[in-house]
């Protein structure tokens, strides 16, 4: 899930005239490669770019005024607020718990660690609708714990916590494994206690990875649909998240209204992704 493609910088820009240039030392791309690039771009356009453009255009099809009133309609506004607020809260928990889980998985040894290692990815592999049903089984009306969160905002929080669990863990883990252990020993020999070593040496080095994982968590949380459907009860103004609100608008044939809220989500996701890219570029320059 991490954007681990440490882009190799194109050396020099002298050969500008040729559009397609092999990476250093590779044979020329030739006609086959150009065809591949053309097809890949066409496919991406037909599948991703044109449809997304259609959403944005649709949302403004009846003018900016209509866009504004669709977005500020009580149910839309409530859904957006709930989505963003809960996502922020979930991201915050992910920062702490994700880092903690990664720490324990990398630095601790205990029976069953390998199972946890596999289980962590379950939210990636488990269908979201099943995730909702699964959580409902433990925290719903028939809860063996007698904790019934169904149809409450806590249920939305729980669903988002479930689906975003692996992001911070999986971005922090490799960095923690690669972390130069000598650095920690050097700090200790300079007089730093274990807590100080963690706060002043380990944490700053993990920070870019934690931030990246959190950005992915947040982007996923604001766009989640399936996991919240069964669990939250979808009560407008109360437990309805933005995605569910959009689905409702589509069903009642108000595509322009749906597109308006969708555009807000799209722009938010885009901003998060841009922030993430900038952050990674900055982190790479530093170290």
């Amino acid at each position: 899930m991490t954007r681990s493609s440490a882009a190799t910088v194109a050396p020099g820009r002298r050969h500008r005239t040729r559009w397609i240039r092999p990476a250093p030392g590779v044979g020329r791309l030739g006609r086959g490669g150009a065809l591949g690039l053309g097809l890949a771009t066409l496919w991406l356009s037909l599948l991703v770019l044109i449809p997304l453009a259609a959403v944005v255009l649709k949302s403004f099809s009846h003018g900016a005024g209509n866009f504004w009133s669709a977005v500020t309609a009580p149910d839309a506004l409530a859904a957006l607020r709930l989505t963003v607020e809960t996502s922020l809260l979930v991201s915050l928990v992910d920062v702490v718990m994700g880092t903690l889980v990664a720490w324990v998985l990398v630095r601790d040894e205990f029976v069953g660690k390998r199972i946890l290692e596999v289980v962590i990815d379950l939210p990636f592999a488990l269908p979201t609708i099943v995730a909702g049903l699964v959580l409902l089984a433990l925290y719903g009306p028939q809860s063996p714990l007698h904790v019934n969160l169904a149809q409450s905002r806590a249920a939305v929080f729980l669903a988002l916590l479930f689906v975003t669990l692996p992001f911070v863990v999986r971005t922090v883990e490799p960095v923690l494994i690669e972390l130069d252990h000598d650095m920690e020993e050097a700090a200790a020999s300079l007089g730093a206690s274990r807590f100080v070593v963690f706060r002043r040496i380990v944490l700053p080095n993990l920070a870019p990875a934690i931030a990246a994982g959190t950005a992915l968590s947040f982007a996923r949380a604001i766009s989640e649909y399936g996991a919240t459907v069964l669990l939250s009860g979808n009560i407008p103004l109360k437990t309805q998240v933005a995605s569910v609100q959009i689905a409702g608008q589509i069903e009642s044939d108000n595509t322009a209204g749906a597109a308006a809220v969708a555009t807000v989500l799209l722009v938010t996701a885009l901003l998060v992704m841009i922030a993430l890219t900038l952050l990674q570029r900055w982190a790479r320059r530093r170290g």
Binding site: W43, P51, D121, G226
Partner: protein, 257 residues
């Protein structure tokens, strides 16, 4: 700290998922068996299988192609392509569905034209495939790209100097080098395709016995208080998900070797 982590993971992940298995078989195997025989269920199995199969093939071909292009070549717009590749992971599946309807639906940009020529996309299999591919688009590429970068170009160059053409080089040198990452990506995207719910629910129209997939069955039967069917379908999906993870965890160490 270890205790906190174990408790957290237990209550958020392990216990809820185990509970599904428990609930599914709480009245024995017979009702589950019966639910599996239901025509709606068998149809859902077939539809899910077809959609997943086609989607995974497209994901794989696209994933390998785009990985080779992005890693091995420098061209105008490369960084843009690299950036938008991740976009699908950050977009709500419902928005994906909406976007596809707006373009390929009956009143969409291309949809009207396509339907007049007898090709229905939305509320039919092609739309479901599009939706599924959209949401799982970068998974293969993001697994393959780091490995391609790591192996570098020297082996490929060596093959070329030994007289291998581009196709032979790819088949005999590049493909074996990326095979575990590719297998990992394929399993991951298969798991994701099987379980796609949001986008498919918007574009499929949920026509029983026609465009109903397993995740849609879970939702619908649960809303209709047919808990056994819901649990049975969930059980199947969860079992596949767990099996995929086990396969992936077995593939991982080989990748490093």
């Amino acid at each position: 700290m270890r205790l906190i982590v174990i408790l957290y993971l237990s209550f958020l992940l392990v216990i809820p998922v185990s509970l599904i298995f428990w609930r599914t078989f709480s009245h024995g195997v017979a009702p589950v068996w019966h639910a599996l025989q239901d025509p709606a269920m068998t149809s859902a199995f077939r539809v899910t299988g077809i959609v997943t199969g086609i989607s995974v093939v497209i994901d794989t071909v696209f994933g390998v192609t785009i990985s080779l292009l992005l890693v091995r070549y420098r061209f105008f717009g490369r960084r843009f392509l690299d950036a938008i590749l991740d976009l699908p992971l950050a977009i709500s599946p419902v928005v994906v569905g909406l976007a596809l309807i707006l373009v390929y639906g009956k009143y969409g940009w291309f949809g009207g034209f396509l339907e007049r020529h007898g090709f229905q996309v939305i509320f039919a299999l092609p739309g479901m495939v599009l939706a599924t591919v959209f949401t799982s688009l970068p998974l293969v590429a993001r697994e393959v790209m780091p490995v391609l970068e790591e192996i570098g170009v020297e082996q490929e160059q060596a093959a070329r100097t030994l007289g291998a053409g581009p196709t032979q080089t790819f088949r005999r040198v590049t493909l074996p080098a990326i095979r575990w990452a590719l297998a990992y990506g394929v399993v991951l995207s298969m798991a994701r395709c099987l379980g796609e719910y949001g986008a498919v629910s918007v574009v499929s129209g949920r026509l029983v016995n026609k465009t109903q997939t397993l995740p849609l069955i879970v939702d619908q039967s649960f809303q209709n208080y047919d808990v056994t069917t819901a649990y049975t379908a969930s059980f199947v999906l969860a079992a596949i998900a767990i099996a995929s993870l086990v396969v992936i965890s077995l593939l991982r160490p080989k990748e490093r070797a």
